[in-house]
Symmetry: C2
Subunit: 84 residues, 2 copies
């Protein structure tokens, strides 16, 4: 069993209005020292072992469904041998 | 300047219908080995140095705005001395 952590973030060049809204809220709560906020997605997947290479499988899942490669970037971490 | 990475996840006991939907989509795309998906948020904050302790500041931001402590858990990583 693998525990896979996927991080999906907007590309640097893509505007992040949600992040801007959070930053303004933080400012109005008194956290004026926050210069920038970027919002992304974080996914935890539990994946069964199979005869396919886990790295290839995870990359394919990200490219096909979990991230939109036009505007988003992804990275992932794979932990092996997790007992449920 | 600090770079802060915040991970917000649903508490274990809270149902994650969005994660369930992603899991079903992965199954229908042929990734039947995916046993579980949990969706969370990932935020990258750039924070200026101030006279307040950065750890205290980030914890307070999470508790007040970035996470809903009733249904969500958070953890964060702080990287120091990031040059923009």
């Amino acid at each position: 069993m693998y525990k896979v952590k996927v991080f999906v973030t907007l590309r640097e060049s893509v505007l992040d209005p949600q992040g801007g809204a959070v930053q303004r809220s933080l400012h109005s709560l008194g956290f004026g020292q926050v210069e920038d906020v970027r919002i992304g997605k974080y996914m935890e997947l539990t994946v069964k072992e199979s005869d396919q290479d886990i790295d290839v499988v995870v990359r394919e899942m990200c490219e096909k469904l979990l991230a939109n490669p036009v505007i988003e970037e992804f990275r992932y971490e794979i932990e092996e041998g997790v007992i449920q």
